[in-house]
Amino acid sequence: MPDCPSFARDLNQIPRNQWLAIYRTMCRARLTEQRMIRLYHQGKIFGGVYTGFGHEAIGAGTAHAGGADDLFTPCIRDLTVHLARGLSVLDVFRQFLARATGPTRGRDGNVHYGRLDQGVYAMISHLGAMISVAIGGVMVRRRQGLDAVAMAYVGDGATSTGDFHEAVNYASVFDVPLLVVIENNKFAYSTPNSQQYRCKDLIDRAPGYGIEGVKVDGNDAVAVYLKVLEIVKEMRQTPRPVLLECDTLRIRGHGEHDDAGYIPEALKAEYAARDPLDNMRRSLTDGEIATDQDLETIDSECQKEIDDGYRQALAEPMPDPATLLDGVYAE
């Protein structure tokens, strides 16, 4: 079929609803974070706001390729993973607004949340630390006879930590079905990759661990999803870790307090032209999966969910000071 573009062939392998679900996750994340940014600048958020602008294709493309029993340790820029696993936008607002009703009941803030009943661990700030938690978790699921896999998310900066090395080596030694998703956005806070590592690609390290490394365009949700689907299918049969390096750029600062002035304008422009949401819309319309109107309908449904979620969260209480000491220990 020489007249059929390759992406259209790829798209047709997968049910239409799945592509729309991926798009919806990306859209929910983008619009939720746009609202968070506004709230931050209005002084209505406590602490910082850290977004995944530009990273939406990675979290959505990977998490939607997972199954019900799989485990995830998302990082700072992976709101898409939480949403793909079933977290409500309402819960996200509760978390950022320190509500007693939120996933951490106001005990922890911003990106430090996750619902284990959805297979998602709450991250700690120590980069790379969650990879080994994902390993232990999926080892248990395997002992239970499930064909589960785990997906652990890190940035380029975390690959310099000892925890990254320990965990990837450990996973390799124990043949753990672990996808280590490296979101290479070229800057660890302000530090460029040239001052972070000296291999060409981060997956160049994979042979050193005796495992496979795969690089994908992290701004193309179709490419991420199809590649992860393939990796995970093999991993379920033959458990082993894989490094997946996703090329992207953080479009905003490390957090909203940071104007990202250290990122060269030309680089910003290059990636802005390849925005993951624009890419996905183009793939879906060019591939005749959805019309512009279909996508606009999804956009407005997402916007309504966000408006409603924000309003409801705002009306809910923060934790009662009388509960300060509660919950340190399990009974």
Partner: protein, 334 residues
């Protein structure tokens, strides 16, 4: 009594390390959720043989070696504990855990508070000196763990408590740091039956009654304190010795009752003096029992220097019955 004669009574002589092994064996037998892993704990049986024979009996699925990766060991235990297992991990030496404290302090200890998910895991950490281990194989860092909300800390001094507390630690739904003193492994023995009950976390034990002074202590220093009390007994001074057994949450009521019986208190530990756990005990007594005191609260602890190697140095570095006797005389004569 000879070993054979003892065995006929149903009791056998057991060392501290035997009891740690016995408790793990029982836990592996009785609870499918229990797994044990760490460095060299498999076929080799552990650096101190606390897991000897367990891999052979229960298989490499339940007792296994890991790479030398303390952070990944603790991190993977967190992952297992939150998915329904009851991992016991052996940190070959407590000193080595320092490379992975964030996994315990920032991760394991905060998870229940932040998310409501329980993390039932036990970290076994061989600690303490007295055998020429030098600065990196002799540390006593209990104060770090006691400082951290979300952790429990136990530290047995006797074989019976070593096994009873280990069972309680594994049954507890929280991360528990189980400190085991290397000097005691083979120096302390008790005649014990095979059957045993768990020792509850948070309950101290009065090892010796007395009326002239009270020692609050734990770990290897319980034995030094008892030896010191023997010396004083020969001088017709009766010294009470309290073994805390659990450092967090510690048994404040037993401490206060013991202080009220003698009105003079000495806190003894093998760890460094500055910010050592004895400072917490002393502060707690000062807050709740100031009116009970006839003398200042005194402390015997290691000096604030790295742990020295040479026997001539370590023997004066580490508190002993001799230094405790001196402190007791000063306390009683105050």
């Amino acid at each position: 009594m000879t070993h054979a004669a003892l065995a006929e009574t149903g009791f056998v002589e057991r060392t501290y390390v035997d009891c740690i092994r016995q408790a793990q064996q029982r836990l592996l037998r009785e609870d499918d959720r229990v797994v044990i892993f760490g460095e060299d704990v498999g076929a080799f049986g552990g650096a101190f043989k606390a897991t000897l024979g367990l891999q052979e009996e229960f298989g490499a699925d339940r007792v296994f070696d890991t790479p030398i990766s303390e952070s990944a060991i603790i991190g993977s235990a967190i992952g297992m504990a939150t998915q329904g297992l009851r991992p016991i991990i052996e940190m070959q030496f407590l000193d080595f855990m320092n490379t992975a404290l964030h996994q315990l302090i920032n991760n394991a200890a905060t998870i229940h508070f932040r998310t409501g998910n329980a993390v039932p895991m036990t970290v076994r950490a061989p600690c303490g000196g007295g055998f020429g281990g030098g600065p990196f194989h002799s540390e006593e860092l209990e104060t770090i763990f006691c400082h951290v909300p979300g952790l429990k800390v136990v530290y047995p001094a006797f074989p019976c408590d070593a096994r009873g507390l280990l069972v309680s630690a594994v049954e507890d739904p929280n991360p528990v740091v189980y400190l085991e003193n290397k000097y005691l492994y083979r120096h302390v023995k008790e005649s014990l039956s095979d059957d045993f009950e768990p020792v509850p976390i948070g309950v101290a034990r009065v090892c010796r009654r007395g009326s002239d002074a009270t020692i609050i202590t734990y770990g290897a220093m319980v034995h030094e304190s008892l030896a010191a009390a023997d010396v004083l007994a020969a001088e017709e001074r009766q010294v009470m010795v309290v073994d805390l057994r659990t450092l967090k949450p510690y048994d404040h009521d037993t401490i206060i009752a013991a202080v009220s019986a003698t009105n003079r208190v000495l806190v003894v530990h093998e760890a460094w003096r500055c910010c050592g756990f004895g400072a917490e005990i002393a502060a707690g007594i000062a807050e709740r029992g100031f009116h009970l005191l006839d003398a200042p609260i005194m402390r015997v602890a290691a000096p604030d220097i790295p742990i020295p190697f040479a026997p001539t140095l370590e023997s004066v570095y580490r508190p002993s019955a001799g230094t405790i006797v001196e402190a007791l005389r000063e306390l009683i004569e105050y």
